[in-house]
């Protein structure tokens, strides 16, 4: 009985996703890719895609650098300041988004690509910090010391031991940071300005009025696909680590 129930729940969780993906390939019951080719002809879609991608890549790059350095700094030194990294994860996203909007208004920062990017980085730093820190082996300091006793100086140790050992965490952190930025909606919508639109904003602008359309299905399918690929990579590296 419980088996049937569990099956039903998973059906509930995945039916809509399967339905969107399926209908993005269907036109009156016939298989087609025309919704996708339509997407690739649409200037607005291409432009938004480009915006989303550059936003996610840059946000990932900066947050990974900042967050990783911080995680390394806080390893084994339990400074009280560490809790500052957890607040952005706990605070509801909408509050963070509107506070950034107010901040930009006060300092008269122009709303657009950079205002969105800055917000994404702030949020991602916290996630990268937590993930990298959790995956930095608690043995890291010891292993670094072992390297020193074997004759490698600090710089050799950093590149031969610290970086390779931190790599799984850095990769995992990058994947999560990219995903968080790639399909982020709430922070983007609050901090964007005229002329800067991402794919989630595009979907929202049409779907918020309850409009479902085949090309929107195709776009959603593409975004889901990206998320699935990232999740798959994440699982792969997590498993290899164990």
């Amino acid at each position: 009985m419980i088996k049937a129930f569990v099956l039903l729940i998973f059906l509930f969780l995945y039916a809509p996703i399967v339905y969107v993906v399926a209908s993005s390939f269907l036109d009156n019951g016939e298989l087609t890719t025309k919704w996708f080719s339509k997407l690739f002809e649409d200037r607005v879609v291409i432009n938004s895609f480009y915006n989303s991608l550059s936003l996610a890549l840059l946000a990932t790059l900066f947050s990974v650098i900042f967050g990783t350095l911080a995680a390394y700094a806080f390893l084994r030194t339990n400074m009280r300041l560490e809790s500052l990294f957890y607040t952005p994860i706990v605070i509801p996203e909408i509050t963070e988004a509107l506070s950034l909007l107010l901040f930009y208004k006060i300092v008269s920062f122009p709303l657009g690509f950079y205002s969105v990017l800055i917000g994404h980085i702030a949020f991602n730093i916290a996630f990268v910090f937590v993930i990298v820190k959790a995956r930095l082996s608690t043995h890291l300091k010891l292993v670094e010391e072992a390297s020193l006793t074997l004759g490698a100086n600090e710089i050799q140790t950093f590149f031969r031991v610290t970086v390779p050992m931190a790599m799984p965490g850095i990769v995992a952190g990058s994947l999560i940071a990219f995903t968080l930025s790639w399909d982020n909606f709430v922070k983007t919508v609050f901090t964007t300005g005229p002329g800067f639109q991402t794919l989630p904003l595009l979907i929202w602008s049409q779907a918020a009025r309850g409009v479902v359309s085949p090309s929107l299905n195709a776009l959603t399918t593409l975004m889901l696909l990206t998320s699935f690929i990232l999740a798959y990579l994440y699982v792969r590296i997590s498993i290899r680590r164990e």
Binding site: L142, V143, L148, T149, L150, G151, A152, N153, Q156, M165
Partner: protein, 346 residues
């Protein structure tokens, strides 16, 4: 030709709020298997890390093979270290782990291969089978061997071992003890072995330093440490010991169990007398000290009986061959020779 591999002179090290080691003076001979034995938190690992250069002393000086190294960084000291947690490189395989120290020394590839093979053979790991293995594919005992091989590969002037057997089960630990001894005999390097386990230290060491609260209590061979402990702490920490509080009286000692003859007094008025359980003889009246006791507990240990015998308010542990038979509540005479009792200040 220098006689000592490691010399510590008046070395002290404090952390922010407590003194980890105080005024340590140690001379460790070349080729010696030397153990530093003490309870956890006694400062023994600090001493090891000072020798390795992972910590620098606040006071005092350290010499390695006669050379002053007090403030030399670890990577210029050429000491091998086997960490308690092993600290193997998880991103490298067995071969790369052992070769690491040679690679950073820019040793030619061919020589590295030869040396790694040699070191793996010393620790009884077949190079053919294990070179390409990942660290997490090895058992605890095998990881131990890789850690030792990695430290030996750089031909260290001393090999420091920080409780390396702590995480192994009893059987493997006993096996690794004899392995370590064999490896030390093969490579003839000075081994400095830190442990809190007295049996490890007694079995393997040429000499032992017993350390407590950051200070050395006694340095000596295992037999010296066991038979003539220099302090009450050493007497209590190594092996089983009975303690009887007493006061000087009439050239001997008076205690709750009665008058005791001892061979030596230390000048103090209130003292503690220490007697090993195996030195107490039962059913024998021709000894310097003889008392009437009641057996309270009998435990059969195979070749031996472990007994608890009460004399007035004092309960003494005794160890006696099991060919003698005793029962609970049995009245016996027990005693010991004056020479076997050691007197400490109370």
């Amino acid at each position: 030709m220098v006689e000592f591999a490691v010399e510590l002179d008046g070395v002290s090290k404090s952390y922010s709020n407590f003194e980890a080691v105080r005024d340590i003076r140690l001379r460790i001979r070349k080729g010696e298997f030397f153990s530093i034995l003490g309870p956890s938190g006694s400062g023994k690992t600090t001493i090891l890390r000072l020798i390795a250069g992972l910590l620098f002393p606040d006071k005092g000086s350290i010499r390695l093979m006669g050379e002053e190294v007090t403030l030399v960084p670890p990577y210029k000291r050429n000491v091998g270290m086997v960490f308690q947690e092993l600290a193997l490189f998880p991103h490298l395989n067995v071969f790369e782990n052992v070769a690491y120290g040679l690679k950073v020394r820019k040793v030619p590839e061919g020589e590295i291969r030869k040396k790694v093979k040699e070191c793996l053979e010393i620790v009884n790991l077949d190079p053919e089978t294990y070179s390409r293995r990942k660290i997490n594919q090895l058992s605890g005992g095998q990881q131990q061997r890789v850690a030792i091989a990695r430290a030996l590969a750089i031909e260290p002037s001393v090999l420091l071992l920080d409780e390396p057997l702590g995480s192994l089960d009893l059987k493997l630990r006993q096996h690794m003890m004899s392995e370590l001894k064999r490896i030390q005999k093969t490579v003839k390097t000075t081994f400095i072995y830190v442990t809190h386990d007295q049996s490890e230290a007694l079995i393997m060491s040429d000499r032992i330093a017993v350390i407590n609260k950051g200070s050395i209590e006694q340095i000596g061979t295992p037999a010296e440490i066991y038979e003539t402990p220099a302090t009450k702490f050493v007497a209590e920490f190594i092996g089983e010991m009975n303690f009887i509080p007493a006061e000087v009286y009439n050239g001997g000692l008076m205690s709750e169990i009665g008058y005791m003859k001892v061979s030596k007094l230390n000048g103090a008025k209130r003292v503690v007398v220490a007697i090993r359980p195996e030195k107490i003889k039962l059913g024998c009246s021709e000894l310097d000290n003889v008392y009437n006791a009641v057996i309270e507990e009998v435990a059969y240990l195979g070749g031996f009986l472990s007994l608890k015998a009460r004399i007035n308010g004092i309960c003494l542990k005794c160890l006696t061959p099991s060919d003698l038979r005793f029962e609970e509540n049995q009245k016996v005479e027990l005693g010991w020779r004056a020479d076997d009792a050691i007197v400490f200040e109370a």
